[in-house]
Amino acid sequence: MLKLNNVSVNYGAFTAVKNVDIEVHPGEIVVLLGSNGAGKSTTFNSISGLNKPSSGEILYDEQNIVGFPPDQIVNLGIIQCAEGRNLFPGMTVQENLMMGGYVHRKNKIHVKERLEEVYEMFPILKEKHNESAGSLSGGQQQMVAIGRALMGDPQYMLLDEPSIGLAPLIVEQMFAKIKQINDGGTSILLAEQNANAALKIADRGYVFENGQIAVQGTAEELLTNEEVRKAYIGA
Protein backbone atom coordinates (compact mmCIF):
# COMPACT_ATOMS: atom_id res chain seq x y z
CA MET A 1 0.00 0.00 0.00
CA LEU A 2 1.07 3.56 -0.72
CA LYS A 3 0.03 5.91 2.03
CA LEU A 4 0.57 9.63 2.60
CA ASN A 5 0.22 10.60 6.25
CA ASN A 6 -0.37 14.25 7.03
CA VAL A 7 2.05 15.44 4.32
CA SER A 8 2.84 19.13 3.91
CA VAL A 9 5.18 20.66 1.35
CA ASN A 10 6.53 24.21 1.47
CA TYR A 11 8.23 26.22 -1.22
CA GLY A 12 9.92 28.86 0.86
CA ALA A 13 7.17 30.62 2.79
CA PHE A 14 4.47 29.26 0.49
CA THR A 15 2.66 26.09 1.52
CA ALA A 16 1.85 24.16 -1.65
CA VAL A 17 0.41 21.09 0.05
CA LYS A 18 -1.08 21.04 3.54
CA ASN A 19 -1.79 18.05 5.79
CA VAL A 20 -2.69 15.68 2.99
CA ASP A 21 -3.72 12.06 3.64
CA ILE A 22 -3.93 9.77 0.63
CA GLU A 23 -4.13 5.99 0.37
CA VAL A 24 -3.69 3.81 -2.67
CA HIS A 25 -4.43 0.13 -2.11
CA PRO A 26 -2.94 -2.56 -4.32
CA GLY A 27 -4.86 -2.90 -7.57
CA GLU A 28 -6.69 0.40 -7.27
CA ILE A 29 -6.97 3.38 -9.56
CA VAL A 30 -7.12 6.47 -7.39
CA VAL A 31 -7.65 9.85 -8.95
CA LEU A 32 -6.59 13.27 -7.67
CA LEU A 33 -8.84 15.98 -9.01
CA GLY A 34 -8.22 19.68 -8.80
CA SER A 35 -7.45 22.73 -10.85
CA ASN A 36 -4.00 23.92 -11.88
CA GLY A 37 -1.80 24.74 -8.93
CA ALA A 38 -3.98 22.89 -6.43
CA GLY A 39 -1.01 20.78 -5.32
CA LYS A 40 -1.35 17.58 -7.37
CA SER A 41 2.05 17.72 -9.07
CA THR A 42 3.74 18.79 -5.86
CA THR A 43 2.28 15.74 -4.14
CA PHE A 44 3.50 13.50 -6.95
CA ASN A 45 6.99 14.95 -6.82
CA SER A 46 7.11 14.37 -3.08
CA ILE A 47 6.24 10.72 -3.58
CA SER A 48 8.92 10.45 -6.29
CA GLY A 49 11.53 12.11 -4.08
CA LEU A 50 11.97 15.13 -6.34
CA ASN A 51 11.02 17.43 -3.49
CA LYS A 52 10.98 16.85 0.21
CA PRO A 53 7.86 17.26 2.38
CA SER A 54 8.37 19.62 5.31
CA SER A 55 6.33 17.29 7.50
CA GLY A 56 4.41 14.04 7.41
CA GLU A 57 5.35 10.61 6.13
CA ILE A 58 5.00 8.72 2.90
CA LEU A 59 4.67 5.01 3.58
CA TYR A 60 5.30 2.35 1.00
CA ASP A 61 4.46 -1.05 2.45
CA GLU A 62 4.96 0.33 5.97
CA GLN A 63 8.35 1.85 5.13
CA ASN A 64 8.72 5.64 5.31
CA ILE A 65 10.32 6.72 2.02
CA VAL A 66 10.59 10.43 2.79
CA GLY A 67 14.19 11.46 2.11
CA PHE A 68 14.91 8.56 -0.26
CA PRO A 69 16.63 9.74 -3.46
CA PRO A 70 14.49 9.57 -6.63
CA ASP A 71 16.37 6.65 -8.18
CA GLN A 72 15.85 4.50 -5.10
CA ILE A 73 12.12 5.18 -5.17
CA VAL A 74 12.00 4.07 -8.81
CA ASN A 75 13.87 0.94 -7.76
CA LEU A 76 11.20 0.24 -5.14
CA GLY A 77 8.62 0.19 -7.92
CA ILE A 78 7.00 3.63 -7.65
CA ILE A 79 7.34 5.20 -11.07
CA GLN A 80 6.04 8.56 -12.16
CA CYS A 81 4.98 9.55 -15.63
CA ALA A 82 5.24 13.30 -15.20
CA GLU A 83 3.22 16.15 -16.57
CA GLY A 84 5.07 17.54 -19.56
CA ARG A 85 6.30 13.99 -20.09
CA ASN A 86 10.01 14.62 -19.44
CA LEU A 87 11.10 12.56 -22.44
CA PHE A 88 14.60 12.58 -23.88
CA PRO A 89 13.72 14.52 -27.04
CA GLY A 90 16.90 13.80 -29.00
CA MET A 91 16.81 10.06 -28.37
CA THR A 92 14.79 7.68 -30.49
CA VAL A 93 11.51 6.23 -29.26
CA GLN A 94 13.19 2.91 -28.62
CA GLU A 95 16.07 4.51 -26.72
CA ASN A 96 13.56 6.36 -24.55
CA LEU A 97 11.79 3.10 -23.76
CA MET A 98 15.08 1.33 -23.10
CA MET A 99 15.97 4.06 -20.62
CA GLY A 100 12.67 3.28 -18.89
CA GLY A 101 14.07 -0.20 -18.31
CA TYR A 102 17.18 1.26 -16.70
CA VAL A 103 16.33 -0.21 -13.28
CA HIS A 104 16.30 -3.69 -14.85
CA ARG A 105 19.40 -3.12 -16.96
CA LYS A 106 21.13 -6.22 -15.61
CA ASN A 107 18.31 -8.42 -16.90
CA LYS A 108 18.47 -7.92 -20.66
CA ILE A 109 15.89 -10.60 -21.47
CA HIS A 110 13.40 -9.01 -19.12
CA VAL A 111 13.92 -5.56 -20.68
CA LYS A 112 13.42 -7.04 -24.13
CA GLU A 113 10.19 -8.75 -23.10
CA ARG A 114 8.89 -5.57 -21.54
CA LEU A 115 9.73 -3.67 -24.72
CA GLU A 116 7.65 -6.13 -26.76
CA GLU A 117 4.76 -5.72 -24.33
CA VAL A 118 4.89 -1.95 -24.64
CA TYR A 119 4.98 -2.22 -28.43
CA GLU A 120 2.01 -4.53 -28.27
CA MET A 121 0.10 -2.00 -26.21
CA PHE A 122 1.11 0.93 -28.43
CA PRO A 123 1.74 -0.47 -31.93
CA ILE A 124 2.37 3.01 -33.32
CA LEU A 125 5.50 3.23 -31.19
CA LYS A 126 6.91 0.14 -32.85
CA GLU A 127 6.33 1.77 -36.21
CA LYS A 128 8.13 4.91 -35.06
CA HIS A 129 10.78 3.21 -32.94
CA ASN A 130 13.63 4.82 -34.83
CA GLU A 131 12.28 8.37 -34.86
CA SER A 132 13.38 10.90 -32.30
CA ALA A 133 10.89 11.29 -29.47
CA GLY A 134 10.85 15.07 -29.90
CA SER A 135 9.46 14.73 -33.42
CA LEU A 136 6.29 12.85 -32.40
CA SER A 137 2.81 14.30 -31.91
CA GLY A 138 1.58 15.08 -28.40
CA GLY A 139 -0.45 11.91 -28.12
CA GLN A 140 2.41 9.73 -29.30
CA GLN A 141 4.79 11.45 -26.89
CA GLN A 142 2.36 10.65 -24.11
CA MET A 143 2.42 7.01 -25.20
CA VAL A 144 6.21 7.04 -25.05
CA ALA A 145 6.04 8.54 -21.56
CA ILE A 146 3.59 5.89 -20.35
CA GLY A 147 5.54 3.17 -22.14
CA ARG A 148 8.77 4.36 -20.57
CA ALA A 149 7.20 4.21 -17.10
CA LEU A 150 5.86 0.71 -17.83
CA MET A 151 9.33 -0.46 -18.82
CA GLY A 152 10.34 -0.08 -15.18
CA ASP A 153 7.70 -2.62 -14.10
CA PRO A 154 5.95 -0.33 -11.62
CA GLN A 155 4.00 -1.60 -8.63
CA TYR A 156 2.56 1.88 -8.33
CA MET A 157 2.37 4.19 -11.30
CA LEU A 158 1.87 7.92 -10.81
CA LEU A 159 0.30 9.49 -13.88
CA ASP A 160 0.30 13.27 -13.90
CA GLU A 161 -2.26 14.79 -16.30
CA PRO A 162 -1.89 12.23 -19.08
CA SER A 163 -4.74 13.82 -21.03
CA ILE A 164 -3.37 17.35 -21.07
CA GLY A 165 -3.26 18.90 -24.52
CA LEU A 166 -4.63 15.82 -26.28
CA ALA A 167 -7.57 15.60 -28.67
CA PRO A 168 -10.77 14.14 -27.09
CA LEU A 169 -10.62 10.94 -29.12
CA ILE A 170 -7.00 10.33 -28.07
CA VAL A 171 -7.92 11.08 -24.45
CA GLU A 172 -10.51 8.33 -24.55
CA GLN A 173 -7.97 5.83 -25.92
CA MET A 174 -5.47 6.93 -23.30
CA PHE A 175 -7.88 6.21 -20.46
CA ALA A 176 -8.68 2.83 -21.94
CA LYS A 177 -4.95 2.05 -21.91
CA ILE A 178 -4.66 3.20 -18.31
CA LYS A 179 -7.47 0.84 -17.36
CA GLN A 180 -5.69 -1.92 -19.27
CA ILE A 181 -2.45 -1.26 -17.37
CA ASN A 182 -4.37 -1.40 -14.11
CA ASP A 183 -5.99 -4.69 -15.09
CA GLY A 184 -2.46 -6.00 -15.58
CA GLY A 185 -1.86 -5.55 -11.84
CA THR A 186 -0.33 -2.07 -11.57
CA SER A 187 -1.89 0.24 -9.00
CA ILE A 188 -2.40 3.73 -10.33
CA LEU A 189 -2.49 7.19 -8.83
CA LEU A 190 -3.82 9.54 -11.45
CA ALA A 191 -3.87 13.33 -11.36
CA GLU A 192 -6.46 14.78 -13.71
CA GLN A 193 -8.50 17.84 -14.54
CA ASN A 194 -10.70 15.79 -16.82
CA ALA A 195 -12.79 14.55 -13.90
CA ASN A 196 -15.49 12.85 -15.91
CA ALA A 197 -13.18 10.58 -17.87
CA ALA A 198 -10.95 9.88 -14.88
CA LEU A 199 -13.75 8.98 -12.47
CA LYS A 200 -15.18 6.52 -14.97
CA ILE A 201 -12.14 4.27 -14.65
CA ALA A 202 -11.22 5.12 -11.04
CA ASP A 203 -12.10 3.28 -7.84
CA ARG A 204 -11.74 6.25 -5.52
CA GLY A 205 -10.82 9.89 -5.69
CA TYR A 206 -9.64 12.96 -3.79
CA VAL A 207 -10.42 16.55 -4.67
CA PHE A 208 -7.60 19.05 -4.10
CA GLU A 209 -8.33 22.67 -3.36
CA ASN A 210 -5.57 25.12 -2.48
CA GLY A 211 -3.22 22.36 -1.41
CA GLN A 212 -5.71 20.59 0.81
CA ILE A 213 -8.10 17.73 0.29
CA ALA A 214 -11.61 19.16 0.14
CA VAL A 215 -13.63 16.06 -0.72
CA GLN A 216 -12.88 12.37 -0.93
CA GLY A 217 -14.86 9.27 -1.70
CA THR A 218 -15.50 6.46 -4.10
CA ALA A 219 -15.74 7.28 -7.79
CA GLU A 220 -19.56 6.96 -7.69
CA GLU A 221 -19.80 9.27 -4.69
CA LEU A 222 -17.69 11.90 -6.40
CA LEU A 223 -19.56 11.60 -9.67
CA THR A 224 -22.82 12.29 -7.87
CA ASN A 225 -21.46 14.90 -5.45
CA GLU A 226 -23.06 18.26 -6.25
CA GLU A 227 -19.99 20.38 -5.55
CA VAL A 228 -17.69 18.15 -7.52
CA ARG A 229 -20.08 18.10 -10.44
CA LYS A 230 -20.30 21.87 -10.44
CA ALA A 231 -16.60 22.51 -10.11
CA TYR A 232 -15.08 19.78 -12.28
CA ILE A 233 -17.64 18.15 -14.47
CA GLY A 234 -19.68 21.16 -15.44
CA ALA A 235 -23.12 19.63 -15.32
Binding site: G49, P89, M99
Partner: protein, 288 residues
Amino acid sequence: MDIFFQQLFNGLTIGSVYSLVALGLTLVYGILHIPNFAHGALYMMGGYITLTMMQTLGLYYWLAIFVSIVVVGLIGVLMERLVFHHLRHAPPIHDKIAAIGMLLFLEAFAHRVWGADYLEMATPHGQVVSVFGITFTLQRLIIIVAAVLVMFTLYLFLKKTYMGMTVIAMSQNRAGANLVGVNTNKVAMLTFFISGALAAIAASLSSPINLVFPGMGHLVILKAFVIIIIGGMGSIPGAIVGGYILGFTESLGATYISSDYKDIIAFILLVLILTIRPNGLFAKGGQS
Protein backbone atom coordinates in the same frame (compact mmCIF):
# COMPACT_ATOMS: atom_id res chain seq x y z
CA MET B 1 49.58 21.28 -54.40
CA ASP B 2 51.83 19.31 -52.06
CA ILE B 3 51.78 22.11 -49.55
CA PHE B 4 47.99 22.08 -49.63
CA PHE B 5 47.84 18.39 -48.69
CA GLN B 6 50.59 18.88 -46.15
CA GLN B 7 48.53 21.58 -44.48
CA LEU B 8 45.38 19.50 -44.72
CA PHE B 9 47.21 16.78 -42.83
CA ASN B 10 48.40 19.25 -40.22
CA GLY B 11 44.85 20.53 -39.89
CA LEU B 12 43.71 16.99 -39.24
CA THR B 13 46.33 16.69 -36.49
CA ILE B 14 45.41 19.85 -34.60
CA GLY B 15 41.73 19.32 -35.33
CA SER B 16 41.93 15.93 -33.59
CA VAL B 17 43.35 17.51 -30.46
CA TYR B 18 40.79 20.32 -30.50
CA SER B 19 37.94 17.86 -30.94
CA LEU B 20 39.02 15.78 -27.94
CA VAL B 21 39.25 18.83 -25.71
CA ALA B 22 35.97 20.27 -26.98
CA LEU B 23 34.21 16.92 -26.44
CA GLY B 24 35.06 16.92 -22.74
CA LEU B 25 33.92 20.50 -22.42
CA THR B 26 30.65 19.92 -24.23
CA LEU B 27 29.82 16.78 -22.21
CA VAL B 28 30.17 18.66 -18.94
CA TYR B 29 28.20 21.57 -20.36
CA GLY B 30 25.39 19.17 -21.25
CA ILE B 31 25.20 17.91 -17.66
CA LEU B 32 25.87 21.04 -15.63
CA HIS B 33 24.84 23.74 -18.07
CA ILE B 34 27.87 25.73 -17.11
CA PRO B 35 31.06 26.30 -19.08
CA ASN B 36 33.85 24.63 -17.14
CA PHE B 37 36.62 27.21 -17.39
CA ALA B 38 38.90 24.86 -15.46
CA HIS B 39 38.85 22.37 -18.34
CA GLY B 40 42.04 23.92 -19.77
CA ALA B 41 43.74 23.29 -16.45
CA LEU B 42 42.79 19.61 -16.70
CA TYR B 43 44.41 19.58 -20.11
CA MET B 44 47.56 21.11 -18.62
CA MET B 45 47.60 18.60 -15.76
CA GLY B 46 47.29 15.83 -18.33
CA GLY B 47 50.46 17.01 -20.06
CA TYR B 48 52.44 17.31 -16.84
CA ILE B 49 51.36 13.99 -15.38
CA THR B 50 52.26 12.08 -18.53
CA LEU B 51 55.61 13.86 -18.64
CA THR B 52 56.33 13.20 -14.97
CA MET B 53 55.46 9.53 -15.30
CA MET B 54 57.86 9.23 -18.23
CA GLN B 55 60.71 11.18 -16.64
CA THR B 56 60.66 10.22 -12.99
CA LEU B 57 59.18 6.74 -13.13
CA GLY B 58 60.59 5.97 -16.56
CA LEU B 59 57.26 4.67 -17.80
CA TYR B 60 56.78 4.01 -21.47
CA TYR B 61 54.83 6.73 -23.33
CA TRP B 62 51.54 4.82 -23.60
CA LEU B 63 51.66 3.55 -20.04
CA ALA B 64 52.31 7.11 -18.84
CA ILE B 65 49.28 8.28 -20.81
CA PHE B 66 47.18 5.62 -19.15
CA VAL B 67 48.22 6.79 -15.68
CA SER B 68 47.51 10.37 -16.74
CA ILE B 69 44.00 9.45 -17.95
CA VAL B 70 43.15 7.90 -14.61
CA VAL B 71 44.68 10.69 -12.50
CA VAL B 72 43.17 13.60 -14.46
CA GLY B 73 39.85 11.79 -14.67
CA LEU B 74 39.90 11.55 -10.87
CA ILE B 75 40.82 15.23 -10.56
CA GLY B 76 37.70 15.89 -12.64
CA VAL B 77 35.61 13.74 -10.30
CA LEU B 78 37.07 15.61 -7.29
CA MET B 79 36.12 18.92 -8.92
CA GLU B 80 32.56 17.72 -9.22
CA ARG B 81 32.38 16.27 -5.71
CA LEU B 82 34.17 19.02 -3.81
CA VAL B 83 32.98 22.07 -5.72
CA PHE B 84 30.25 21.82 -8.36
CA HIS B 85 28.11 19.35 -6.42
CA HIS B 86 27.77 21.80 -3.55
CA LEU B 87 26.83 24.58 -5.93
CA ARG B 88 24.03 22.68 -7.66
CA HIS B 89 21.31 24.85 -6.14
CA ALA B 90 23.34 28.07 -6.35
CA PRO B 91 22.92 30.64 -9.14
CA PRO B 92 24.96 29.69 -12.27
CA ILE B 93 27.39 32.56 -11.79
CA HIS B 94 28.74 30.76 -8.70
CA ASP B 95 29.74 27.76 -10.80
CA LYS B 96 31.58 30.02 -13.20
CA ILE B 97 33.44 31.78 -10.43
CA ALA B 98 34.31 28.43 -8.85
CA ALA B 99 35.56 27.13 -12.21
CA ILE B 100 37.89 30.10 -12.60
CA GLY B 101 39.04 29.56 -9.02
CA MET B 102 39.98 25.97 -9.80
CA LEU B 103 41.75 27.03 -12.97
CA LEU B 104 43.91 29.45 -10.96
CA PHE B 105 44.48 26.87 -8.25
CA LEU B 106 45.66 24.17 -10.65
CA GLU B 107 47.93 26.56 -12.52
CA ALA B 108 49.50 27.78 -9.32
CA PHE B 109 49.89 24.14 -8.32
CA ALA B 110 51.73 23.40 -11.56
CA HIS B 111 54.00 26.42 -11.08
CA ARG B 112 54.83 25.23 -7.57
CA VAL B 113 55.53 21.61 -8.48
CA TRP B 114 56.97 21.76 -11.98
CA GLY B 115 58.09 25.40 -12.30
CA ALA B 116 57.39 27.86 -15.09
CA ASP B 117 59.77 26.37 -17.66
CA TYR B 118 58.73 25.11 -21.04
CA LEU B 119 59.36 21.37 -21.00
CA GLU B 120 59.73 18.97 -23.87
CA MET B 121 58.06 15.60 -24.01
CA ALA B 122 60.01 12.93 -25.87
CA THR B 123 58.00 10.52 -27.94
CA PRO B 124 59.02 7.03 -28.97
CA HIS B 125 57.34 7.80 -32.29
CA GLY B 126 59.57 10.57 -33.63
CA GLN B 127 60.35 8.83 -36.94
CA VAL B 128 59.86 10.87 -40.07
CA VAL B 129 57.48 9.35 -42.59
CA SER B 130 57.02 10.38 -46.19
CA VAL B 131 53.95 9.32 -48.13
CA PHE B 132 52.50 10.78 -51.34
CA GLY B 133 54.75 13.81 -51.04
CA ILE B 134 53.57 14.61 -47.51
CA THR B 135 56.25 14.51 -44.83
CA PHE B 136 55.41 14.18 -41.18
CA THR B 137 56.56 12.59 -37.95
CA LEU B 138 54.87 9.38 -36.95
CA GLN B 139 53.61 11.13 -33.81
CA ARG B 140 51.30 13.30 -35.90
CA LEU B 141 49.78 10.28 -37.57
CA ILE B 142 49.37 8.66 -34.17
CA ILE B 143 47.51 11.72 -32.88
CA ILE B 144 44.96 11.39 -35.66
CA VAL B 145 44.50 7.64 -35.36
CA ALA B 146 44.34 7.66 -31.56
CA ALA B 147 41.88 10.57 -31.49
CA VAL B 148 39.57 8.91 -33.99
CA LEU B 149 39.73 5.64 -32.03
CA VAL B 150 38.94 7.43 -28.78
CA MET B 151 36.02 9.29 -30.34
CA PHE B 152 34.65 6.10 -31.87
CA THR B 153 34.90 4.26 -28.54
CA LEU B 154 33.20 7.17 -26.80
CA TYR B 155 30.43 7.12 -29.39
CA LEU B 156 29.82 3.40 -28.84
CA PHE B 157 29.86 3.90 -25.08
CA LEU B 158 27.36 6.75 -25.14
CA LYS B 159 25.06 5.14 -27.67
CA LYS B 160 25.18 1.43 -26.88
CA THR B 161 25.66 1.03 -23.15
CA TYR B 162 23.20 1.85 -20.39
CA MET B 163 25.94 3.67 -18.50
CA GLY B 164 26.74 5.88 -21.47
CA MET B 165 23.10 6.47 -22.30
CA THR B 166 22.52 7.89 -18.83
CA VAL B 167 24.94 10.72 -19.72
CA ILE B 168 22.95 11.61 -22.84
CA ALA B 169 19.63 11.16 -21.03
CA MET B 170 20.64 13.46 -18.20
CA SER B 171 21.81 16.16 -20.60
CA GLN B 172 18.49 16.01 -22.47
CA ASN B 173 16.20 15.95 -19.46
CA ARG B 174 17.48 15.83 -15.92
CA ALA B 175 14.09 15.23 -14.29
CA GLY B 176 13.36 12.53 -16.88
CA ALA B 177 16.59 10.77 -15.95
CA ASN B 178 15.60 10.92 -12.29
CA LEU B 179 12.19 9.44 -13.05
CA VAL B 180 13.61 6.36 -14.79
CA GLY B 181 15.81 5.67 -11.79
CA VAL B 182 19.13 7.15 -12.88
CA ASN B 183 21.32 8.30 -10.01
CA THR B 184 22.21 11.75 -11.26
CA ASN B 185 25.13 12.12 -8.82
CA LYS B 186 26.84 9.11 -10.32
CA VAL B 187 26.24 10.39 -13.84
CA ALA B 188 27.75 13.76 -12.95
CA MET B 189 30.86 12.03 -11.57
CA LEU B 190 31.11 9.75 -14.60
CA THR B 191 30.84 12.73 -16.94
CA PHE B 192 33.59 14.61 -15.14
CA PHE B 193 35.79 11.52 -15.26
CA ILE B 194 35.31 11.19 -19.02
CA SER B 195 35.88 14.90 -19.48
CA GLY B 196 39.16 14.81 -17.54
CA ALA B 197 40.25 11.64 -19.33
CA LEU B 198 39.66 13.22 -22.74
CA ALA B 199 41.66 16.31 -21.72
CA ALA B 200 44.51 14.07 -20.54
CA ILE B 201 44.51 12.11 -23.81
CA ALA B 202 44.49 15.29 -25.88
CA ALA B 203 47.34 16.86 -23.92
CA SER B 204 49.44 13.71 -23.87
CA LEU B 205 49.07 13.22 -27.61
CA SER B 206 49.84 16.80 -28.54
CA SER B 207 52.62 17.55 -26.04
CA PRO B 208 55.38 15.88 -28.09
CA ILE B 209 54.70 18.28 -30.96
CA ASN B 210 54.08 21.25 -28.65
CA LEU B 211 55.54 21.95 -25.21
CA VAL B 212 54.45 21.42 -21.63
CA PHE B 213 54.09 24.55 -19.47
CA PRO B 214 51.61 25.89 -16.89
CA GLY B 215 49.77 28.08 -19.38
CA MET B 216 49.52 25.46 -22.12
CA GLY B 217 45.78 25.14 -21.61
CA HIS B 218 44.88 28.79 -22.17
CA LEU B 219 44.69 29.00 -25.92
CA VAL B 220 43.40 25.44 -26.24
CA ILE B 221 40.47 26.05 -23.90
CA LEU B 222 39.59 29.36 -25.56
CA LYS B 223 39.48 27.59 -28.87
CA ALA B 224 37.50 24.71 -27.39
CA PHE B 225 34.91 27.27 -26.32
CA VAL B 226 34.84 28.65 -29.84
CA ILE B 227 34.35 25.10 -31.11
CA ILE B 228 31.44 24.22 -28.86
CA ILE B 229 29.79 27.55 -29.56
CA ILE B 230 30.20 26.91 -33.28
CA GLY B 231 28.96 23.33 -32.92
CA GLY B 232 26.10 24.19 -30.57
CA MET B 233 26.58 24.08 -26.78
CA GLY B 234 26.27 20.52 -25.51
CA SER B 235 26.25 18.94 -28.98
CA ILE B 236 28.61 15.98 -29.36
CA PRO B 237 28.79 15.81 -33.18
CA GLY B 238 29.11 19.60 -33.10
CA ALA B 239 32.22 19.38 -30.93
CA ILE B 240 33.87 16.87 -33.27
CA VAL B 241 33.04 18.64 -36.52
CA GLY B 242 33.78 22.04 -35.00
CA GLY B 243 37.20 20.83 -33.86
CA TYR B 244 38.15 19.72 -37.36
CA ILE B 245 36.72 22.84 -38.99
CA LEU B 246 38.91 24.93 -36.73
CA GLY B 247 41.95 22.73 -37.28
CA PHE B 248 41.68 22.96 -41.07
CA THR B 249 40.95 26.68 -41.08
CA GLU B 250 43.94 27.37 -38.87
CA SER B 251 46.49 25.34 -40.76
CA LEU B 252 45.30 26.50 -44.18
CA GLY B 253 45.01 30.08 -42.95
CA ALA B 254 48.52 29.96 -41.54
CA THR B 255 49.85 28.92 -44.95
CA TYR B 256 47.80 31.03 -47.31
CA ILE B 257 47.17 34.13 -45.21
CA SER B 258 49.83 34.47 -42.53
CA SER B 259 50.98 32.33 -39.65
CA ASP B 260 50.93 35.44 -37.46
CA TYR B 261 47.16 35.44 -37.72
CA LYS B 262 46.78 31.72 -36.98
CA ASP B 263 45.19 32.22 -33.57
CA ILE B 264 42.93 35.03 -34.69
CA ILE B 265 41.33 32.83 -37.32
CA ALA B 266 39.41 30.87 -34.71
CA PHE B 267 37.73 33.99 -33.46
CA ILE B 268 36.98 35.37 -36.91
CA LEU B 269 35.38 32.02 -37.69
CA LEU B 270 33.32 32.31 -34.50
CA VAL B 271 32.00 35.73 -35.46
CA LEU B 272 31.20 34.59 -39.00
CA ILE B 273 29.36 31.42 -38.03
CA LEU B 274 27.40 33.07 -35.24
CA THR B 275 26.32 35.81 -37.63
CA ILE B 276 24.89 33.23 -39.99
CA ARG B 277 23.69 30.66 -37.45
CA PRO B 278 23.33 32.28 -34.02
CA ASN B 279 22.59 28.97 -32.26
CA GLY B 280 25.59 27.17 -33.70
CA LEU B 281 25.82 24.67 -36.53
CA PHE B 282 24.28 21.70 -34.75
CA ALA B 283 21.83 23.36 -32.39
CA LYS B 284 18.48 21.63 -32.39
CA GLY B 285 15.63 23.97 -33.14
CA GLY B 286 12.06 23.93 -31.98
CA GLN B 287 12.24 21.65 -28.94
CA SER B 288 12.25 22.52 -25.31
